[in-house]
């Protein structure tokens, strides 16, 4: 199983961290630092596997990583996973990101952290490989995007009538309308 997934850049700045086994927050940061330290000093043409750092546990674990441009993708896995399989999985994940963001770069990961999480969730679930078929993953992500758009469109709709009509079938109509209302206000105020 996959114990954790870490993405950080060439300077060790974390861009996504996902632990499938509980570690206290300070441990998590320590693990990131240690992993960065282990991975970053390796040449690009050495192998992609190394024995897990002491923090993340034991000899049964390996770090499997790939380095793309400015980012390191590191998976910490136990011996029940195939090393090459995980390498390919990282590739699938990155290719999927590339499809979803159109030429993905580090900035996409920074500003759309939530989205990256959602894409990852379609690939890995609770530390286990969920889906490896890129078309399936992309289709799921697109479905999410469509739902997001339709909900966003709903809340942003200028005419209350339309939303009212659309909401007619929903059981909790009044609250929904309220939400729509405030949403509009908040957006126009843009407090930040």
């Amino acid at each position: 199983m996959i114990k954790s997934i870490l993405i950080f850049n060439n300077h060790g700045k974390p861009r996504l961290i996902r632990f499938y086994q509980y570690f206290p927050e300070d441990m998590q940061q320590q693990i990131i630092r240690e992993t960065f330290h282990l991975v970053s000093k390796r040449d690009d043409n050495v192998c992609n596997f190394l024995e897990g750092g002491s923090l993340i546990g034991g000899s049964d674990y390996k770090l499997i990583y790939r380095h793309y441009a400015t980012l390191y993708f590191v998976f910490c896995v136990d011996s029940s996973e195939s090393e090459l399989g995980i390498l390919d999985l990282i590739q699938v994940f990155v290719e999927t990101l590339d499809k979803c963001f159109e030429n993905v770069c580090e900035l996409d990961l920074i500003f759309h952290m939530d989205k990256v999480h959602y894409i990852l969730q379609e690939v890995v679930m609770g530390g286990m490989v969920l889906e490896t078929n890129m078309n399936d993953i992309v289709a799921q992500v697109e479905l999410q995007n469509r739902m997001e758009k339709s909900e966003g469109g709903l809340s942003a709709a200028p005419a209350r009538a339309i939303s009212a009509v659309k909401n007619m079938n929903l059981p909790e109509m009044p609250r929904n309308i309220n939400i729509g209302d405030i949403n509009i206000k908040v957006q126009s105020l843009s407090p930040f």
Binding site: V46, M125, G126, M128, V129, L130
Partner: protein
């Protein structure tokens, strides 16, 4: 979400860490006030703030609020809000949060919603958090979602993995039931994603209860065969860079590794065909130059090889696998070289391929020298260690030693351990061993742990023939101006014990030896100096001529008033001892160390600890012992070499290896040994079972009567009988001399492991010596030429693997004699033979088909392969020999039941001789793993 983007930009523009912290604190305050504020927040704002908190968390700041808001988002009707709520929870909520019940409520609603997207979110959350409360709440519900006919494929996938996760975290809560059979059928599902998830699930479940999932073998083979043989276009989306469903293939091959090779011949040949096809494909030209293509293809290939190694039954496949790995060893792709070395390590332990692996030794050594990647070099070290045997040990040890000079610091200690183990294990003459270890200390002194230098001392002490050589060698090694402190420790100890062996040479006269040691004294740490002081007092005994010099040293202020209390105390006591004790007393007190008891090498234990269980290649530990060929010598001879009185114990430096059986009394005025942490490390607190030869173990497995010990004084013979879980041993002690043995007593103890493991299991009821049944005489005597009989009653409470030790103590001619002999009480003594028909036998054989229940070993014949002798040995082992059961009449088949107090363990065994290769294959199946292993160990020593 513009606010989020602005915030992130702000953070990125911060020039310093302080500015960043300030900005974050401001934002946290803002969010906190928004959450606390009177105004109800709408879903969008909540979503935005939760996103910000996630970002702040990523930067390494603790988030201690916002959980409640995230939980509220779960009940939103909007997908995006729900989604971020779940995300926050799975990233930030740990499994023992108080919010779990609220979260569970949200999950429950979503699971019941029949909306596949919501159900997926809920299942993801359960899998990600995986807490016990969640398992309690949902473990019973998820199987029904998984096998329901109308569940969407994507939900099935999530449900399978969710169940797998819960099974990992709280296996007791996941009920097995009629769904298990239906899960197996998911292997036939149309949707390959569902099949992949189901395969992962079944693999985990099958490891725990193989019987329930046995039907998955045929389905998995069928599925695999379809994938492997299909033209890759058939699988559409699941073809990855021209490789058909690589992940699924890997998973299926993993699943098959839970089971032995299929019994059904057709199925077996279909699987073999698959494996052959995979091996063939490796030879085809690649369909793409992309690394992804070769990765995917080789992922399947390596897994197939792993399965071949696991089955360990098809020599042709094994040899092909080995050749394939051999190709990879020289591949330009570093990853493949790494994996090839790793796989070969497991292959090296199979008898079929061990020789084939050995042919690659030059490539592996070359890898060790030329690889640029430390991970790969480490694998090369592992493989050299695994492929080492008597034929190539010198070469391998030499290569590892030369590599050690430049090795990365991170792996030096491990290499040191490995070299030390190999050097000991394959030492033909101990001079080579001593040289190797001294080299180790010279090259990598800092990485030589205590275990290693303790071990060399133990071996030198136990091997008479190497002592002179060792003294000479350490003396020479100490000449180098900058020798390592560890060398000084070994040198001090060995010269203190055996310096007299080289004192005849004027170049190493006592004074020269002493001056050499003392010239380094002041540069060492306190423990080493303490050890050297003990060496000095030993010198006083060995060489009376240097006594004044040493007394001067001890008397100097730097010793007598040393700030370190241990050193000071030693100096004072040793000085005093040297002044007041007569030569005789001195000689007794400072007697040469008696041999150390046999035990598992502490180095091996250390390596195991370092590498974790299962990582040390099978090194045949059963035969591991220090003095494989020593007799019960030194301390039983009627000379004054008998066991020294107690002061020795106190005279030893605190961290010096010693048998701790001598209770410290006489010199205890200074409680010199505060505690001996190191002795524990070395398992020193065991009885001095020095004489307990391993031979007893081997010879008495298949026989019950005979002489187990004999020296000039005493003969110990046995007659034993066993019925079910009870046994009775008559022990005969024969006095071979013409004078009395005084204070004769005996006791049965166990080695240190026995204390913890066996004693509760094997109850030894000692009756009194039969001469005087009722009152055990305080000071019984055995007249010259007389025989004494003792009865031991034994009850086997549970299965065990260690051997009890019989300790005998008596006075002869004024000296105390200690003898320790292993009592041949092994698990197989409690066998009751069982006759059965061929049909019964195979039916039971199949019933015991779980991998853990079977233990198999392949070994070289140690004795001529004679059928009658083998028959007799198997009968002596305690099982019934079944004829006409095995289709091959040359094979031996046996059956029996082990009786212990609590249970009975049925046991089937099969021994297949191969006269051409002079090898045997021994297979044992019992219902208990530990029993299979123990019996296999015992019996395999016999042929």
């Amino acid at each position: 979400m513009r606010g989020l983007a602005v915030f992130i930009s702000d953070i990125r523009n911060c020039k310093s860490k302080e500015a960043e912290v300030k900005r974050i604190n401001k934002e946290l305050a803002n969010i906190r006030s928004k959450f606390k504020g009177d105004k109800a927040l709408d879903g969008y704002s909540k979503k935005k703030y939760v996103c910000k908190l996630l970002f702040i968390f990523l930067l390494g700041h603790d988030i201690d609020f916002g959980h409640m808001e995230a939980v509220n988002l779960l009940s939103s009707n909007k997908y995006t809000e729900k989604q971020i709520g779940y995300l926050f929870i799975s990233v930030l909520v740990n499994s023992n949060s108080d919010l779990i019940s609220l979260i569970n409520n949200g999950i429950k609603n979503d699971l019941a919603s029949r909306n596949p997207t919501f159900m997926n979110l809920a299942l993801h959350c359960i899998a990600n958090v995986g807490s016990r409360e969640m398992a309690e709440a949902f473990a019973s519900q998820i199987p029904s979602i998984l096998v329901a006919g109308d569940t969407m494929d994507s939900v099935k996938q999530s449900a399978a993995l969710c169940l797998l996760r819960l099974n990992r975290t709280s296996p007791d809560l996941v009920p097995m039931g009629e769904w298990t059979a239906r899960v197996v059928h998911l292997l036939n599902d149309q949707h390959l994603g569902v099949v992949t998830a189901a395969t992962s699930l079944i693999t985990t479940l099958a490891q725990k209860s193989p019987e329930d999932f046995r039907t998955s073998i045929s389905l998995a083979v069928a599925r695999l065969s379809r994938i492997v043989t299909s033209a890759s276009i058939d699988l559409q989306d699941y073809t990855y860079y021209f490789v058909a469903a690589p992940w699924l293939s890997v998973k299926l091959l993993r699943l098959l590794q839970c089971y032995p090779p299929p019994e059904d011949a057709a199925l077996r040949s279909r699987l073999t065909e698959c494996l052959e096809t995979i091996l063939n494909k490796a030879q085809e030209p690649p369909k793409s130059k992309k690394v992804q293509h070769s990765n995917a293809k080789n992922a399947v290939l390596f897994e197939a090889i792993a399965l071949i190694i696991h089955h360990d039954s098809e020599p042709t496949l094994l040899v092909r696998a080995c050749n394939q790995l051999g190709q990879f060893l020289q591949h330009r792709e570093t990853n493949l070289r790494y994996l090839a070395l790793e796989s070969m390590c497991t292959l090296a332990s199979s008898e079929f391929s061990h020789e084939a692996v050995k042919t690659h030794i030059d490539t592996v050594i070359n890898a060790l020298k030329t690889e640029r990647d430390v991970s790969v070099r480490q694998r090369a070290v592992d493989l050299l260690y695994a492929m080492c045997d008597r034929s190539n040990s010198k070469q391998i040890v030499a290569e590892m030693l030369s590599y050690l000079e430049n090795a990365d610091y991170s792996i030096r200690e491990e290499i040191v351990l490995k070299v030390a183990i190999l050097a000991e294990k394959y030492a033909v003459d101990y001079t080579w061993y001593v040289d190797t270890i001294l080299n180790l200390i010279r090259i990598a002194g800092d990485h030589v742990s205590e275990e290693v230098w303790y071990r060399v001392i133990q071996i030198v002490i136990n091997q008479d023939d190497v002592q002179g050589y060792a003294a000479k060698t350490v003396f020479e090694a100490l000449q180098t101006p900058a020798c390592h402190e560890n060398l000084l420790k070994v040198g001090g100890y060995i010269l203190g014990e055996f310096g007299n062996l080289i004192a005849g040479d004027p170049r190493s006269s006592p004074l020269v030896q002493f001056n050499l040691l003392h010239s380094k004294f002041h540069l060492c740490s306190v423990p080493t100096r303490a050890l050297l002081l003990s060496a000095y007092i030993k010198f006083i005994n060995l060489f009376p001529e240097v006594k004044p010099t040493i007394q001067d040293v001890l008397r100097s202020d730097s010793q007598l008033r040393n700030a370190d209390v241990e050193l000071q105390q030693r100096a004072i006591e040793y000085l005093r001892l040297s002044c007041i004790a007569s030569t005789d007393i001195l000689a007794t007190v400072l007697e040469e160390m008696p041999p150390f008891p046999e035990r598992e090498s502490s180095i091996l234990a250390k390596l195991k600890k370092k590498k974790g269980p299962g990582k040390v290649p099978d090194m045949d530990e059963a035969r591991w012992n220090v003095n494989g060929n020593t007799e019960h010598s030194e301390n039983t001879e009627p000379t004054n070499k008998s066991s020294p009185p107690s002061l020795v114990a106190d005279l030893l430096p605190t961290n010096r290896p010693r048998p701790a059986s001598y209770s410290p009394t006489i010199l205890s005025a200074g409680n010199m040994a505060p505690s001996h942490p190191f002795t524990d490390l070395l398992n020193m607190n065991s009885s001095p079972a020095a004489g307990a030869s391993l031979l007893v173990d081997v010879l008495f497995v298949c026989k019950n009567n005979g002489v187990i010990f004999e020296n000039q004084l005493l003969q110990i013979g046995l007659k034993s009988e066993y019925r079910q879980n009870l046994g009775r041993i008559y022990v005969f002690y024969g006095n071979k001399t013409s004078s009395q043995f005084l204070s004769f007593s005996s006791s049965v103890t166990s080695s240190d492991t026995l204390k913890t493991h066996i004693l509760p299991l094997l109850r030894l009821l000692l009756t009194d010596l039969s001469l005087n049944v009722h009152t055990m005489p305080v000071d019984p005597t055995v007249e010259g030429g007389a025989q004494l009989q003792q009865i031991l009653n034994i009850e086997c409470l549970s299965d065990f693997s260690d051997t009890p030790v019989l300790n005998v103590q008596f006075r002869y001619g004024g000296t105390l004699q200690n003898i320790a002999v292993k009592l041949p009480v092994m698990l197989n003594k409690f066998f009751q033979p069982t006759e059965m028909t061929s049909e019964d036998f195979f039916q039971r054989w199949k019933q015991l088909g779980v991998p853990q229940q079977e233990v198999q070993t392949i070994f070289k014949a140690q004795h001529p392969m004679d059928t009658d002798v083998t028959n007799a040995k198997i009968l002596g082992f305690g099982v019934a020999l079944l004829s006409g059961v095995d289709p091959n009449p040359a094979n031996f088949v046996g059956a029996g039941v082990i009786h212990t107090k609590n249970t009975q363990v049925g046991c089937l065994l099969r021994l297949e001789p191969n006269p051409q290769a002079e090898m045997y294959r021994l297979t044992l199946r019992t219902s208990r793993e530990s029993v299979s292993q123990r019996l296999c160990d015992l019996l395999s020593e016999q042929f």
